[in-house]
Amino acid sequence: MSNVPSDLKYTKTHEWLRTLPDGTVEVGITDHAQHALGDLVFVEVPEAGRKLSAGEPFAVVESVKAASDVYSPIAGEVTAGNAALAAEPEAINSDAYGKGWLMRIRPSAGASATLLSPADYEKLIAEEGD
């Protein structure tokens, strides 16, 4: 069973969001997504300062099987990419919601995002199966 923490928000494309005390938002891929991808072997994260619009690909995660884009759930400016993943991409497999974070972003003023509650996200992955 996939782990869906109750204190996060989610997207239909399997990203999670955590709002940090300073107002920035931490983004990663869900436990369900890492499980579907399999062992991750290469991750490309964005540089701080990069401006993103909502829905724009900001990272590439590659497993043994395939490469996948990860989409920014919200418009804003990247404040940090998780550089540690270059040496340890498997942290996404073992700790998707912790050490496996991909970027931190400061949302643009007035930016909005269509997000799913944990319950809605659980429903989505139950419908997708596996």
Binding site: G38, D39, V41, F42, E62, V64, A66, A67, A86
Partner: protein, 366 residues
Amino acid sequence: MTRRTPLFDLHQKLGARIVDFGGWDMPLQYGSQIAEHHAVRRGAGVFDVSHMCVADLKGARVRQFLQSLLANDVGKLKVPGKALYGCMLNETGGVIDDLIVYFLGESGFRAVVNAGTRDGDLVWMRRHAAAFGVDILERTDLAMLAVQGPEARGKAASLLSPPGATSALALEPFFGREIDGWFVARTGYTGEDGFEIMLPAAEAQRVWKALNSAGVTSCGLGARDTLRLEAGMNLYGSDMDERTSPFESGLAWTVALEPRERAFIGRGALEAIRARGPQRKLVGLLLEGRGVLRSHQKVLVPEAGEGEITSGTFSPTLERSIALARVPAAAGASAQVDIRGKLLDARIVRPPFVRHGKALVSPEVI
């Protein structure tokens, strides 16, 4: 409707992720694909390869039949039990399939062909077998397990009777033999030592569980693919097909043009290709930096033109990305690969990348 092997229920019980492979429901992985890969390089793993087609060939002229059917020469098979790898070609020299044939002695030969091509292969073989009076019997009553890794033979032999174990452990590489009602062959697709075991389908689940109990890791098609690619072995349909000849597929060593009088299907086309020189070749690629090579990525070769990756992956043993690629014959030692619009440097190397657990490309020069 996909097909299932006699082990399907057990794969599900073991928690395998099941995928469609050539029309078969097969296990991709049971847990971590990389852990399964390392189990085979360092210990022992077992794969369900029952989706492959085992066919027994019988008839007074069966040897002549295979000598006309295959680009490699079964005339090399003089001792019962000896196996030969080769290609079955069409008239234009393209590869219909690659296969292994075992010489069984008086009772004929046994061929093992790929799952995705089995139906077409059988039609082709039967069409040509008629003239030689050869019968082709598909052995759907058998399951096939590949037990691979440095500890594989010892662990598999522990399931046999004492004389059976002695007999199995005495097998030379690329030999097979009937032992205790199984056909045990010292062959494989991983670059490691091991056995491929053909056994009655009804025994397959019991044997799989006994292998697990003996410390053999269940491995899926995911690990099978990274292992064979590290070992520099081709995958039919990816690295060669009916449009490519063995010469352009790294398989010249499987083409027996001697003796000259042996007429086999595709011979004329191969001689013509050889006379003008193959335009392309299949090479190994080692990505210099970070990233993962994937099939169909474009390969740019300085002053020689363009090629394409036919199989690419991340090598768990080398912790680098490796690939097989078809490139212009004039390609030298280096190339660039277009990965999502970025050109990354790659080194052209001669496969295999890994054999018997050892890297054959040294990390310090990467």
